[in-house]
């Protein structure tokens, strides 16, 4: 019946729906939004909803999900992607590593190296568990290519069988809990694999708020933002950057009191920083008429390092929201990667910068 609706009706539906959808998005309405992600616990073949106690029940609009043991500690962590706002969420699994497990790496030969679709069965006193090595599943997602079998409190699997896509089947003897083994298609024995393990970091502490307000994060490449020299010459950061030095990039503006207080200090440290391969670069965020005031401010403050102005679109390359806050300094290493971010001007910041400059004089507040 639905498929037989007339062309006119279908056209009418389309205009109606399209108009309505457009309105929803333009006006910021919600549609099945603010749903908390679900986690169902399997209790012997029947599920119970534990979402609200899971810690991974993000209220954002979930899209992709990749379960993978990122820290090799023997359980699956979750990398979740969302539609908007904070688009990437990494969740550390706190409990899986407390139980026993074995991990299986598959390397195909006749089946091709990836051996997608290969199935591994393991036998324990609880029965036979099967997993397939899938080349992508869920929605726009691909998880851990290695297979992790939860053994609960079992000390070992009795046997392990691989059914390769080529049709070959191989069965192996006991594997002890906590072991990672590689199975190579057609080879008669399992290869033990030593995987180093660590732990994903603890949840965010005090600097969470600062970093959440920034697009540029530690370990990111500092973006190739547009720069204009005081002589009017146009460039950008990656063109300006030299591979033989690090940079202390200081964002400031003529209306920012704390900025104006720290700049003479930066100027005083600049020569010794330069001797340690670190160049100070000032970038003024002044816009419009205020840009014209930058050279006179620079002279008055005794700035002896390169100064640039920039364009308003650069704000969104640095700040994640509408809030622009300065002074803000980035330490960028010789690879162009952000090593540190410092907001405001404090004893700690000054001490850190003095340390980089090779100044070994005693530091206040014990900061190293």
């Amino acid at each position: 019946m639905l498929a037989s609706s007339t062309g006119d009706e279908a056209a009418g539906n389309q205009d109606y729906q399209r108009g309505h959808m457009g309105k929803i998005f333009a006006e910021g309405f919600s549609f099945s939004g603010f749903e908390r992600d679900k986690l169902y616990l399997n209790q012997g073949g029947a599920y119970v909803d534990i979402s609200g106690l899971s810690g991974l029940d993000s209220v954002g609009d979930g899209r992709g999900a990749a379960w993978a043991d990122f820290d090799n500690d023997g359980d699956y962590d979750l990398l979740l992607t969302e539609l908007q706002g904070q688009v990437h969420h990494l969740y550390r699994n706190e409990v899986g590593q407390q139980r026993h497990w074995v991990r299986v790496l598959l390397e195909g030969r006749e089946s091709g190296p990836d051996a997608w679709g290969a199935e591994v069965r393991v036998k324990t006193s609880q029965g036979i568990a099967v997993k397939a090595k899938t080349g992508g599943s869920g929605f726009v997602s691909q998880g851990d290519p290695r297979l992790l079998f939860g053994l609960d409190s079992e000390e070992a699997v009795e046997w392990l069988e691989v059914r390769w896509p080529s049709g070959e089947r191989q069965r192996f003897g006991s594997v002890a809990a906590g072991a990672t083994v590689r199975v190579v298609e057609g080879e008669q024995s399992l290869q033990p694999v030593e995987l180093a393990a660590t732990s994903l970091p603890d949840p965010a502490g005090e600097d969470a708020e600062l970093l959440a307000a920034l697009v540029v994060q530690p370990r990111d490449e500092f973006p190739a933002i547009a720069l204009q020299g005081l002589d009017g010459e146009q460039t950008n950061f990656s063109a300006f950057r030299r591979a033989d030095r690090s940079y202390l990039i200081n964002l400031w503006a003529t209306h920012c009191g704390p900025c104006l207080r720290e700049m003479p200090e930066l100027a005083a440290l600049a020569p010794s920083l330069a001797a340690n391969g670190i160049e100070v670069v000032g970038i003024s965020l002044d816009m419009g008429a205020a840009k014209a005031k930058v050279p006179s401010f620079a002279r008055r403050l005794g700035v002896n390092y390169p100064l640039f102005t920039t364009e308003e679109h650069v704000f969104s390359q640095i700040f994640s929201g509408d809030q622009v806050f300065i002074p803000l300094s980035f330490f960028v290493d010789r690879e162009g990667m952000v090593k540190d971010v410092m907001a405001g001007w404090s004893e700690e910041t000054a001490a850190k910068i003095r340390t980089w400059s090779g100044d070994k004089s005693p530091l206040t507040k014990g900061t190293q």
Partner: protein, 548 residues
């Protein structure tokens, strides 16, 4: 705002389906009342979240008569290995307004912190007299922490009566709790560590410049530099992110260095060894031309992804979403399947549940010489029903890779591999699942040694509510209503019975009313040997917090 869902339902269900007993105009007005009541409950939710008891009281009529709220008992019993349930009781004595406000003050005292509160209208009947009166079943949930700081989660259902005031506000005349369940976690199960791990990224609000497309947001994992640590690639708004695992629990974003920061907008990423040379290459599905990047690692072993889309023959246009790999013809080379949707908004599906006007999916068959040929049509998998996701697995246990395809506006496809060529057997083996399929995952949920299927669909409180109003007598046996029922039913779990047949185990093992669920699927997160299920969800959360 009127629910889009209602509009869609009214459009597709006109005519004889509605029956003579249903007044279409009243259904429309009733849904308006439902929305205004829902909006009022949303304001009430915020008051509860902030523990603003005086504001909460302002939603209760002076003459309110209500039952009590639960009293948390001393002894909680284990609900499962990770949580305990409250022993809780409540009275149904007629409390007046002041006493009921006191009940809320006491009840919210069980929460040392509240993260989220949601009140929703499940069912509502409206009487249009001098004033409009509502008689409704509502649901509410509170997520937070208990007095000892452990995660605590309460869900409840209540019956309410409310009257619409001249100024447009609803005041509650009656509130009777009908069901209540509260649980406390025994330990932390997951902690979010995005920021300290170097994975904190943000994008503008959906619909604003810089984030106006449904696409992107895919994620794939592989040890791309073969250092023993898993790396990840996420497709994003305007750019991609490549998170290289540093081996110390943190990640460095290296998309630019690897050559894939800026590509044409990509959707589903897929890591695979496309040329059998032992390193990890990258396929990117796209709404546009599909892309393949061959890894030619640097001397240091860092990924160096070179665009070979043209030479490899994958630069085919599609409205691509998910990309999945398997060797469909058993020649030892990975083939790639791409699900293709359509340009929603420019083209609308020609049916809500049996659309045929999606764009055809693609199957790139690997020739083993670095090139692919697109053979979806000739191999029988050019599904054109607005496909979102797919997964390969040997579902009929004959040794080759079968394919399950989740279609948003069509029934799903179960393509049995018969010598490298496929035939859709979904109907004959009971795998049609006529919901709005958005994801598929393969795993053995009952530990019988057979691979089962989980399919993500939508479930909607509004959908349930509207359907019951359209079909007050429960007229649900018609095929179209069965289809529409799936709007409200949630995710589907198919049990593999062996020899290629399946049964729907969703109700027996679930149910899974997981909201507007995209992908997710099986994962044994606690290593107890049983496959748990995860479902990310939520369509669009707008600037307005109101939602139905």
């Amino acid at each position: 705002m009127k629910s889009l869902l209602l509009l869609v339902l009214l459009l597709v269900m006109r005519g004889p389906l509605l029956g003579e007993s249903v007044d279409g105009a009243f259904v429309d007005r009733a849904e308006d009342y439902s929305e205004s009541l829902a909006n009022q409950l949303h304001a009430l939710s915020l008051a509860v979240r902030e523990k603003k008891i005086d504001e909460l009281a302002s939603y209760f009529a002076a003459g309110l008569s209500a039952g009590g709220l639960p009293v948390r008992g001393d002894v909680a019993h284990p609900a499962n290995k990770w949580t305990v349930a409250w022993n809780a009781d409540w009275s149904s004595d007629g409390l007046d307004r002041e006493a009921f406000v006191g009940e809320w003050r006491r009840y919210l005292g069980y929460f040392s912190a509240i993260e989220d509160v949601r009140f929703k209208v499940k069912q509502a009947h409206f009487i249009e007299g001098e004033a409009v009166q509502a008689d409704a079943h509502i649901y509410f949930a509170i997520v937070g922490r208990d007095a000892s700081g452990m995660r605590q989660w309460a869900e409840a259902e209540a019956w309410i009566e409310a009257t619409l005031q001249p100024e447009g506000r609803w005041l509650l005349d009656a509130f009777e709790l009908e069901k209540h369940g509260a649980h406390v976690a025994l330990t932390e199960l997951f902690s979010e560590v995005s920021l300290p791990a170097g994975m904190f990224r943000s994008a503008p609000r959906f619909g604003t410049p810089g984030n106006q497309d449904f696409l992107a947001h895919g994620v794939a994992v592989a040890d791309i530099d073969r250092d023993g640590w898993l790396d990840a690639l996420a497709t994003g708004v305007g750019r991609n992110f490549l998170y290289m695992n540093q081996g110390d629990g943190t990640f460095a974003e290296r998309a630019s260095a690897a050559g894939v920061q800026f590509t044409p907008p990509a959707t589903g990423p897929l890591f695979l060894d496309s040329d059998n040379d032992g390193d990890v290459d990258l396929f990117l599905a796209a709404a546009g031309y599909q892309m393949l990047f061959e890894n030619r690692p640097t001397e240091e072993g860092a990924p160096n992804l070179v665009d070979v889309s043209q030479e490899a023959g994958v630069a085919y246009p599609a409205q691509g979403f998910s990309a999945v790999a398997a060797d469909v013809d058993q020649d030892g080379w990975s083939d790639i399947y791409v699900t293709s949707y359509n340009q929603y908004g420019t083209v609308m599906p020609n049916s809500w549940s049996r659309a045929t006007n999606g764009t055809p999916n693609l199957l790139f068959v690997n020739r083993g010489d670095g090139t692919f040929t697109e053979q979806a049509e000739s191999r029988g998998v050019a599904d054109g029903r607005w496909s979102y996701a797919a997964s390969f697995a040997d579902l009929d246990e004959d040794g080759d890779q079968d394919l399950y395809v989740a279609n948003d506006f069509g029934e799903n496809g179960y393509y049995r591999n018969e010598g490298g060529y496929f035939t859709d057997r979904a109907e004959e083996v009971g795998l049609l699942d006529p919901g709005n399929g958005m994801g598929v995952s393969v795993g053995d949920f009952d530990n019988d040694g057979r691979l089962d299927l989980h399919v993500s669909n939508m479930s909607s409180t509004a959908g349930n509510r509207i359907l019951s109003r359209l079909f007050p007598d429960g007229v649900k046996q018609l095929d179209e209503t069965r289809v529409l029922n799936k709007l409200a039913a949630g995710n589907t779990l198919f049990r593999n019975l062996g020899s290629g047949s399946f049964e729907d185990a969703s109700q027996a093992a679930g149910p899974f009313g997981a909201g507007w669920a995209f992908g997710g699927g099986f994962v044994d997160f606690d290593n107890d040997g049983w496959q748990d299920l995860h479902a990310p969800n939520g369509f669009i959360s707008g600037k307005s917090l109101k939602d139905t």
